[in-house]
Symmetry: D2
Subunit: 390 residues, 4 copies
């Protein structure tokens, strides 16, 4: 790529959580600059936030419609290259569609949309326009997650037999949504979050991670969703039995009421000859287990010759021993998206490592997962097919 | 107690795994002596094993019937106090019944019997005879497991909401039963092991641990059992959704084909205010998690005044920093059984801490768990009641 | 602050290690933009690197002298605010002095200079100009390091008695400097690195960390420096006994030949009532130990009310459970430097948390440490005073 | 061996710490029976302790002199095979000499004696009598410590360059010796403990471990010993620089005032190609580090074919995943001593694995270490030779 890409942000005003994360992720590698924003539906917040981010006043917009319209009218060497959407779930679809319709590439915070139907419309629009849509399933941005995926893809462990993925959080152990916690309020509100709470918010991350690492699709599921804090409208906890397309058995557990847990995403996958264990808590480590040999501690940036996949090394910024974390994983998604877009703009071909970021298909899988998990939870049948209904 | 107790062992000849463990556990605290044995159904092995254990020839028996008969005829100050049964599952019931019938107390390796019906007969016999039956669910012997149980019993964490228990092993990742592995052979053989493999062998341990720590009964379950190694007759893997009597949600995972895992039993239980995490890998540590405060590392033998329950401190042999392990946990079961029996013999009242070892009721729960898990696995209904059918 | 700060970089061309780190650190928070650079003494590399970083050609300079001279002539709203110096040690002083002389603030990679004398000259220049000099002792940028410092400063643990700090690396276990490793080449060369190898490169980090966390000065030291790989000119390993000003005992260990270690910086400090343990390997955790109570796991971003110091919370970008790492710690130094400079520019007063970044005094301590450690290593006397000789 | 060995214990009455540990260690494997004891210098305690241990009254002695004299007069098939001495340091020598003089083998808790001179006399007596003396340097009994030793002996890592051993405890952080803590009282009393406190008590363990694993002698040392709790007569903390016979550099740190630490013995040894890390906290794990390959987690009882040394496998009682701890390590010393003695009695040759327990030479090294460390601490010279002065 031969210039920085220009980004316009929808949502992410001051005090928003995920917007700030997206900005750091986009800033980190010097490939992207924040050029404009429609940072809040509250005009005062929008303006104040724009000022704090050193945006020019004339590119601090009050609505996404205004932003997309006005940016479209700017000359090519000034207007944004892509729109990043960091609003609550119910407000993903409209700006995404409008952006695509106006020729802008799109980054969307997951889940991709409010309903599966919206996701399918986005897929069609992406296909029509040839634009790039990136979905920030952060955890697939970690180098050692990519290493795990590469090892299974290379058949290092033989046929996959067993998958355990878990995502315990504790932050919704009280009815915080009624105590002024804005994050809790929208995430537990079916009108803003969608038909699932815990499963939509973090279960989708776990399911994505399982499919990403194994390279296998989940084909059947059996879900037990619970509301463990009285007075809540959406599930705050769930356990799901899984079947994978190759016959592997699995289990996915997610909770937002595991009091005392932070963000303890962890996955274990076992094949015939060994397996892997990865946990976000210490993301630079991949435990590699063997049937007949000692467990190995693979480290991001490790000095092992070519033992690490190019997918892992491409996504490290430092040599071993310099812990990289969540922001770098997030940054990897932005970086790969930017490198891909930059290559396209320069007429170059992006490498396979650059192209390795989540997109619209991942978004559809996620929306279908939410639908199917909720269907299963309401059923007395043991198994529900995990297919994309439309 | 005012003398050592005398033990006779059924099974446990040389090369047996669990028999050797029982002997170390029984020896450790100097409360029990091995007085006789019917150590193998192979007479040569029985004799050779007796010699290796320094047993007198006249108390090295060739069958459990001979042992129980002849020991019954010895004078009271010479004959054994109890029989310990360490044979494969199918050979638990007969010696246990005969021992009880002849006035001997009994220790049995888990599962208590081959079928639930046998277990119920043992319960009745124990009730009739007033003798003591101890079941070696080892993991409930760890001090920090007892600490966890005590904290939930004391209401420290409020109402329990969520239970995750997992027990991954990898040792059956190949068809070792066909390669001369005697342990693998009987454990994967329905005629010797029972109607379940993995769930009977280790799933029962996980279920016992969950009920022991929480003090709650599992009331419903939804099981997915798999045979992941082709050619095997019994399940070698399973995931089970759980409902507890108070409404808590749970998940139990066990596998013997998690290649590269040793014996990675782990449990996490969360209540309204916090929760605990315990793993056999580092058994002297109990992580205590809090909704609004830092996680604490509680250590067996820790110098914390009265923060540790008497149930924990009674079961530690050393101050903090001297790691105790599996053999000590096993030894705690023997020690508490011996202290209880010794107290009875001396006409004293055992303390509540001494009485805290698994018995016939735990055995019945275990057999019912096996039955109900297998029933659920064969059902298309989501939930199966976990009750004791008889 | 009301605008982004403009940075000019000296050194850090493509393939340099630390220059890339500085750029990520500076980019991350959107407070600084890279405006120009003299990125290499090799003109081709300088130009190519400028292009890769999207610098305008007219601000891609070939020498630091050119850069400082030309930037000085730019209008105030265009010229850089500060110079960042990421060259090898021997080339820190000249650009730093010239920058200060021309009214530019300065960031320098540690150690501050090649000799103590240079460091003292820089101190005087800073005093004369009133400009700000920031020294990137990265490890003091970690939130949980700041938490530890704050706890000792608040007297939480009583009088400090004992300090253990260690920094094992393995990357110089072979004579890599003769195998084309450019990093190894200059760092093991007395003409480029200075009078110490391992102690200058990483021992100074360890010493800084110890003084930073304890708030105490090291007053005496007894060093054993070794060259453990034959053929090397500078120490690649050292152990140093320490005495602190309050009488506390300490030990500092550093090695670059601990084969298999990455960057395993770790510190433990004990007071009368408890102590702390922090390791870069898992930097978001601070173990807090107590004489009579369980160890606590303090986590960056933890939800503990006001248990975390404002020095820690000010330096976290995410809530607990989103691991931040080395780049964020580095970024904290740039962020605090930028916030301080931005406040000055806006006529505001920086907060105490903003002002908490290493500067010229830390640089002088570091150069004196190198001198005194080398003196001690050559002496047969046990103790050498750790004072600033000039 | 063809019978259990008979043990007589000196010291170890009720409430003693280490006596109880020795009994468990001796009981565990069913190779040794406690036959008699002189358990306390307080006659009431001696009698009561004998009763609690189910000793016959006529073999519950009141003094070690009485015990040794009377046992000598018993017939060969009844009298003890060895005396185990678990008194405070000042009371090791007399019973040990008398036992040897009367033809009894001896086990002694470390340090072997009160002075080096006593240790040298014991050596001569052992040589004269041909009896066996075992010294319970517990930590050398851990299987993974033996594995480490075997790997260095086999040259797996090339020449050893660097040794770090540390032993932090916190239990003497207060003047507990004045608050009725009997353990603290004698261990901090020069008349009972000897000329060093911390270094004698735990520094000797660390030094033994370092020499045991490396197979190298420490030849020079530079010690800084401190009394960090006011009012104490003996060192409660120390840091020692080390030189090994092959030129390797080392550092030994021990403290009894590291508030909040339990018994955190840890050692790291690095050679040219890699190294090991072992910590008592999780003793079944040996981290094996490599210059150019991922760290391996070697586990006691691991299923790795012949990757584990026979020295390790001989000292495991269980397969991998059944944590063994301090008592088993202690038990290994007793077991190997018993197997060696049993072999001698049966006229067999003990294997090299059986013979691998500490003895009188280790005791002499330990006493010399105490002497030389104290000499060094009082010297203004940097280095003191670590030789056996007599």
């Amino acid at each position: 790529m031969n210039r920085k890409l220009r980004m316009g942000m929808v949502g992410g005003g001051k005090d928003a959580f995920i917007g700030a994360i997206h900005r750091i992720a986009a800033n980190m590698d010097g490939l992207i600059e924040l050029s404009c924003g429609a940072l809040s539906i509250n005009p005062d917040v929008a303006k104040e936030s724009g000022k704090m981010l050193f945006l020019p006043e004339d590119r601090t917009y009050l609505t996404f419609e205004e932003m997309i319209t006005k940016e479209s009218q700017l000359p090519a060497d000034k207007r944004i290259d892509f729109v990043t959407i960091v609003t609550p779930n119910f407000a993903h679809f409209a700006p995404a569609m409008m952006a695509l319709d106006n020729g802008f590439n799109v980054v969307i915070e997951k889940p991709i949309a409010f309903t599966l139907d919206e996701a399918l419309q986005l897929k069609q629009k992406v296909a029509e326009t040839g634009l790039t849509l990136c979905l920030t399933h952060t955890y697939s941005g970690y180098p050692m997650v990519k290493q795990a995926r590469a090892m299974f893809a290379d058949g290092v462990f033989g046929k996959i037999r067993k998958v355990w993925v878990e995502y315990p959080q504790g932050w919704l152990s009280k009815l915080s949504e009624r105590e002024g916690n804005a994050q809790a309020a929208w995430r537990t509100d079916p009108k803003k979050s969608g038909k699932s709470g815990c499963m939509g918010d973090i279960g989708t991350h776990a399911a994505h991670l399982a499919e990403y690492i194994t390279g296998l699709k989940i084909t059947q599921l059996c879900a037990d969703l619970s509301i463990l804090v009285d007075g809540r409208a959406l599930d705050d906890d769930g356990n799901v039995l899984l079947k994978f397309e190759n016959g592997a058995a699995g289990c996915l557990m997610a909770s937002q009421v595991a009091a005392g847990e932070e963000n303890a995403l962890k996955i274990r996958v076992y094949g015939e000859k060994g397996g892997v264990e990865w946990a976000q808590h210490e993301p630079n480590t991949l435990l590699v287990k063997w049937l007949d040999a000692p467990t190995q501690i693979l480290r991001a940036g490790g000095n092992y010759g070519d033992r690490l996949s190019t997918y892992a090394t491409h996504n490290c910024r430092t040599p071993g021993g310099h812990p990289e974390g969540y922001l770098e994983a997030f940054g990897n998604i932005y970086r790969n998206f930017a490198l891909t877009l930059g290559a396209k703009i320069s007429g170059e071909t992006p490498t396979k490592e650059m192209l390795d970021f989540p997109g619209v298909e991942d978004g559809i899988r996620g929306m279908a997962f939410i639908d199917n998990v909720v269907t299963s939870a309401q059923s007395t049948e043991k198994w529900t097919a995990h297919i994309v209904n439309n």
